[in-house]
Amino acid sequence: MKLRIYVTLKPGVLDPQGKAIEHALSGLGFSGVDSARVGKLIELEVAEDTADADVDAMCRQLLANTVIENYRIERA
């Protein structure tokens, strides 16, 4: 089973990489981009019987830093 884990910065946490992208897009002449935020996509191939609680624990213990990041798990 494939899992996609999206790790994103919490709202309100300044994202310097997102800001740089936002400025670069406007430099390319694209108007109307109000903000850009950079996150991560982590794809895991796991056993079919992997419990939701285990995936959640993986995210909390390692994949996301919950001080600054949120995560979302998607089953592909």
């Binding site: 946490v13 310097p16 740089a20 830093n65 001080v67």
Partner: protein
């Protein structure tokens, strides 16, 4: 006094901090590999050095913080062992939950590598008692992810409890409230982005950093 330095794959300031500790104590520190599960008996200080543990993959310090030796560091820190984390070591200590907050990409997106001025905010910690409160010192910095963030309540608590040890005296990386180094609530864990171990003799351009090591060892009772 016996000391130890943790070595992760990618640590590159481990020997610098070992030299600084040896100069201050007269004894070479134990170099402890990250896969070890125990710290040497009877050490008074353990250093988590700078570098790029695990290539900064996933997040700076994230993988190192989950390595076997860090369980022992966490247990010993809870019993009062003095833990000094510099640069990547600071990132590892926040990721390990030994210090609050997190370190993000520098606000200017530049790798910052130069000498910076710092203000000693709290000279009452075991790590900083070789300095005067309010004194300005110069340490080198060399980091990409030194932008300290924490929620406003945590920042207020750090300020209120005297846990801000060093503050940048000039803009460096966008750190919240210009925080350059913090101590834990119990005061026995210090994390800082600047490198005191790279400023321990005149050939380094000054020895402001040396006083951290000599002061720490006096405080711990070398």
């Amino acid at each position: 006094m016996k000391t130890a330095v943790i070595v992760f794959p990618g640590s590159n300031c481990d020997r610098d901090i070992a030299v600084a500790l040896e100069q201050a104590t007269g004894t070479a520190p134990h170099m402890v590999w990250h896969r070890d599960t125990e710290l040497p008996a009877g050490i008074g200080v353990v250093a988590v050095p700078g570098g790029f543990s695990y290539g900064d993959y996933l997040r700076s310090g994230a993988l190192a913080a989950r390595s076997p030796i860090m369980t022992a560091v966490r247990e010993q820190a809870a019993r009062g062992l003095k833990v000094l984390g510099v640069c990547n070591g600071f990132q590892v200590l926040t990721e390990a939950g030994l210090l609050p907050g997190a370190l993000m990409r520098n606000a200017g997106l530049n790798f910052v590598c130069r000498d910076v001025a710092l203000t000693v905010e709290n000279a009452g910690t075991v790590f900083t008692h070789g300095y005067q409160a309010g004194e300005q010192v110069r340490f080198p910095v060399a980091h990409h992810d030194g932008n300290y963030v924490a929620d406003p309540e945590t920042l207020d608590r750090l300020e209120g409890e005297g846990q801000v040890a060093f503050r940048y005296a000039e803009p460096v990386n966008g750190s919240a409230r210009d925080i350059a180094g913090i101590v834990s609530a119990d005061g026995n864990v210090l994390g800082m982005m600047p490198h005191p171990e790279r400023r321990i003799e005149p050939a380094h351009g000054g020895d402001d950093g040396k006083r951290m090591f000599t002061g720490l060892l006096e405080a711990v009772g070398a």
